[in-house]
Symmetry: C2
Subunit: 213 residues, 2 copies
DNA sequence: TAGATTGTTAATCGATTAACAATC
DNA sequence: TAGATTGTTAATCGATTAACAATC
């Protein structure tokens, strides 16, 4: 099977952004080369695993040398699809929706927020960083004129599946869901469920566990 | 080895909050019993895995009957440590810090936010939902008088490790980190790194993958 | 060249799934 | 009782780690 064409396991996918972060950091610090052994020490993984992971996508290193940091960074950028631009909308302009809209780092990475949507008349018409909050009723009309890649779901859980379905119907290729419910999507749509409360509960679990109860 | 005392794998821990959510939903819908087969269909897991997972913590079911929903919910609540109260502080009162402070659901679950902290003089002295924003310089003094369980890190990444260290020094048992850097903590402290950008990058990865590129 | 480190195969480990006796 | 479904053991699968030949 040709490199880069095989199905990548979820475990590997989860590690990719971490590699990207660590290698970017090295690059920013002016480091020009790194071995899997050095990276393994920094990241708390085995060198073996790092080499296996990279080799899912190609041969990025050189025997006796290691990896060229800049090259590796470029590979990871491309693998993650971060060499492209993505158009987003945020559905739900409450706390989370606004926090994401205000977070400028995503835009620097090529994730462009085209609009927010909400059901609340007091919010509709306002802008966040110049991004207009529109009536969620206009979602379909808007998407017909402005094709998007990613719909961010930041509604209460009761509306989450419905607005996600709508976004998919109008061409969204991915759902980034912050509502505390698992969103179901067709097989050709990507979904990431970010469950903040789940994350918090694992902390209370671990606190209890560490206390030895 | 006695039930409930063995080391629980990370994979099981990640599924626990999901079980909790689904079982709570069943309970709220008035369902009184559920079999592992029914739950498996709803959650997209195998019935075998569900039974294995539950049996890490005890024997919650009954042959020929299944699981009593209310009992199972109580077990999961206790397992996750959600039968207790937790005191939190939020360090960094920017977008994410404020969004979390405004999110009232956590409080309902027993996670009490005692204070926010920031470095910005314009924010210090303000309140969010009655929770005061204090000068981050006062973190140590505050924690000496108000012991906390969880420190939420919502600072820029350059300050994240430093404020986490400080929180741990003054008795924090867990770190909930939203800064885009991996926080290191002693072995007796729990940590959850919530990397929103990592999550977003897996979406761009998957979009590319689904397109078959 | 000699030393270093990769890419890759083989071995190990752990997690998931299947099977089924126990029992409600 | 007969049917259903658990708890648990055994089998399978996949992911991680170890080892090492290839090679820079």
């Amino acid at each position: 099977m040709a490199k880069g064409s095989g199905r990548i396991s979820e475990a590997v996918i989860r590690r990719l952004p971490r590699y990207y972060r660590y290698v970017r950091e090295l690059m920013q610090n002016g480091v020009t080369r790194v071995s899997s052994a050095e990276l393994s020490k920094r990241m708390g993984l085995t060198a073996s695993q790092i080499r296996q992971d990279f080799n899912c996508f190609g041969e990025f290193g050189q025997q006796g040398y290691g990896y060229n940091v800049e090259e590796l960074y470029e590979h990871l950028t491309r693998i993650l699809g971060l060499d492209k631009k993505y158009h987003l909308i945020i559905i739900g302009a409450g706390n989370i929706g606004q926090a994401i809209a205000n977070y400028t780092d995503f835009e620097k990475e090529g994730f462009i927020i085209d609009s927010l949507f909400d059901i609340n008349p007091r919010l509709i018409g306002l802008s966040i960083r110049g991004i207009e909050i529109r009536d969620v009723e206009q979602l379909g009309t808007f998407l017909q004129d402005h094709p998007i890649d990613i719909a961010v779901i930041a509604t209460p859980k009761s509306k989450a599946q419905e607005v996600a379905d709508n976004a998919v119907k109008y061409g969204a290729k991915a759902i980034w869901n912050f509502a505390p419910v698992d969103i179901a999507v067709p097989a050709d749509v990507a979904v990431e469920n970010v469950h903040l409360s789940d994350s918090l509960y694992t902390l209370s679990f671990k606190i209890r566990e560490l206390k030895g109860e």
